[in-house]
Symmetry: C2
Subunit: 189 residues, 2 copies
Amino acid sequence: MKQKIMDISIHLFDKKGFTETSIQEIVDELGVTKGTFYYYFKNKQELLTNIHLNFIEYLLERQQEILNDDSKDSREKLRSMILMVISSIKHRKKSARIFFREMRNLENQYLDQNIQKRDQFRKNLQTLVEEGIEKGEFQNHLSPDMITRGILGMTNWSYYWYNPDGEVSEEELTSVYLEMILHGIDKKA
Amino acid sequence: MKQKIMDISIHLFDKKGFTETSIQEIVDELGVTKGTFYYYFKNKQELLTNIHLNFIEYLLERQQEILNDDSKDSREKLRSMILMVISSIKHRKKSARIFFREMRNLENQYLDQNIQKRDQFRKNLQTLVEEGIEKGEFQNHLSPDMITRGILGMTNWSYYWYNPDGEVSEEELTSVYLEMILHGIDKKA
């Protein structure tokens, strides 16, 4: 039921907005009582927080698996992380979109939890970049922090435009981005 | 007065949200009457549209100047465009943020105008990428469309995190991004 409440709320928040959607509408849509809602969530704030934590914790777990996989070098780990983010769009587009749009509506106690997890995601990616530099796989003259934010920007931005059911496959987009990030677009003389 | 209404609305929409801000609050804040508001804008929708058009048209004009500058090669033009976007953050952060968050609230007729301009911005950047490929300055084995979206992602994402008053200058960030985009982070053997 907890998942059902989150799923229907993602749908309603995306369609109507967080502020404009009442708890009554959420429970009406599911045919349950407000009591059911309050059994799982203290309020709408906690619900919105849970929707996003759910999404980001899933990504963090998968990211950790990639980081721990000793069979891969840094380039391969980077490919896996980019593919992971792009592949998550198909099923998680709405919950990511809601977060960016509605974070203004979260009180600090809830917002902090989310921001901490998001920072963790960035820091894990940065760890990978730094490992690659240490091992001599990546260039050492660029700031790992800025490289990381550049990679995050490219991949996260796909949430705004990429259509997983369109002509370009997730693997194809990943390959182009990885090639850009690793070798750049300049044609050397 | 039109600009003043837009400025105060950017501030209020960013703080309270578009839906939650009334025309009455906007005019109260300025000490004018509702009549003054309606002299310039048909409704809040038109105001929100104007706020964003104002922002995107400024970027489009500057972008066109860069494209037309025959003294620069494609790499230099790319640097100028990246710097332009990053430099716009300082003064335009709020209006960009409002747009992404509130576009859901725009009716189609208003939304279309904005989307058309945004597409134009992407297409101009793609023109630059394609010119670079034609002239043999950029690699020709990667999709210009995806390269363009990758560059846009890196630069546009900075709206979420970059602090123009922080330690990293706009020029510095531009240099790291340009270096990444042109030459990549891979350390060649």
